[in-house]
Symmetry: C2
Subunit: 199 residues, 2 copies
């Protein structure tokens, strides 16, 4: 051990970032201390502020430091259409890629009873409350096509059926520009079964 | 833009880390805020402390928050042997790999007049002062075999010659387990020219 305590503890603290192992942590530590102390101070403040202030939106459960997130507070988003996603980052991905003008609901995970994630953890009661208050008329499911995602989708679909709300799910199939040779068999059989009328 | 200001500014601040682009910054932000707030707070404190307290060792110029680093302060390291390296991380690499028991001198870079890095920036006056005070009897150069590293090595070698100090340089050649087929021509010709007596 040749590092001083402050250097060592910065190196260890950086390991909390996903994808950062001992070697990257060392590289980051030296880069910050040798060339970018201002960046290090700025990052420290941003971490502190975000860790203390960011909570979840009362309505859609996305990460925000306000009571209502920008999308829920906006009067230009149609409250009758609700897109259900797994993570806050999915909201951004859909916002970037589509011109969707409805609102979102963030599950923050998917049903996985073995890991202790049930309907309560996903805020499905809150979602159900929004179904029954009569404002929502359409649900778009954008959960991932994994086993847990399927279970989540089924669960929400039965909730929507009870409340008599139209529900759809984003298409799963061969990605644009994808070569059939390189697509896994599950995706291909799904895409084949889900073929749509053309021309 | 669907992120709240604190989330957005954390995402931007993370970009100061080397190797972190917009996508990794987003992933890190959500991982910290959703699953590891304690880690985020710990990292904020470590960054703050390190940015404020870490300076350089008075003797060897490595990063430390003390006046003298652990290696320079230790009475078990031979002050008559001095290993010259480019970066603080090189000290750790040599400590891990060898049983070297002398001291170090960290240049923090290499001679590169075009980038404004001259002998002054590398602390070569401080190194020269240590040559002339009579304590150092041997220098081991562990600078990298690049053009700038060569220039730095030459410069230090001439300083050592003036002070009548023995100087050696770590060997450059084919790495252990390396296949000649995959070694670049420069390394191979260097290894060939620098062949040592065997058996």
């Amino acid at each position: 051990m040749a590092y001083s305590p402050s250097v060592q503890s910065l190196m260890e603290a950086l390991r909390c970032l996903p994808g950062v192992g001992p070697k990257s942590a060392q590289r980051m530590t030296f880069a910050l201390l040798q060339h970018d102390r201002d960046g290090a101070r700025r990052l420290a403040r941003a971490l502190e502020t975000a860790a203390e202030t960011v909570g979840e939106c009362r309505r859609c459960r996305t990460l925000t430091e306000e009571d209502l997130c920008q999308l829920c507070a906006s009067d230009r988003r149609d409250p009758a259409v609700l897109c259900v996603v797994e993570n806050p980052s999915d909201v951004q991905a859909l916002e970037d890629a589509t011109d969707y003008a409805g609102q979102y609901f963030v599950l923050k995970g998917r049903l996985s009873p073995l890991d202790g994630i049930g309907p309560g953890e996903l805020g499905l009661e809150a979602l159900e409350a929004r179904f029954t208050d009569g404002e929502v008329r359409e649900i778009i499911l954008a959960v991932s096509p994994t086993v847990e995602g399927e279970a989540t989708a089924q669960y929400i679909a039965s909730m929507a059926a009870e409340a008599d709300i139209r529900i759809s799910r984003i298409a799963h199939g061969v990605p644009l520009g994808g070569d059939l040779d390189y697509v896994d068999a599950g995706t291909l059989s799904h895409a084949f079964a889900g073929r749509a009328r053309y021309g």
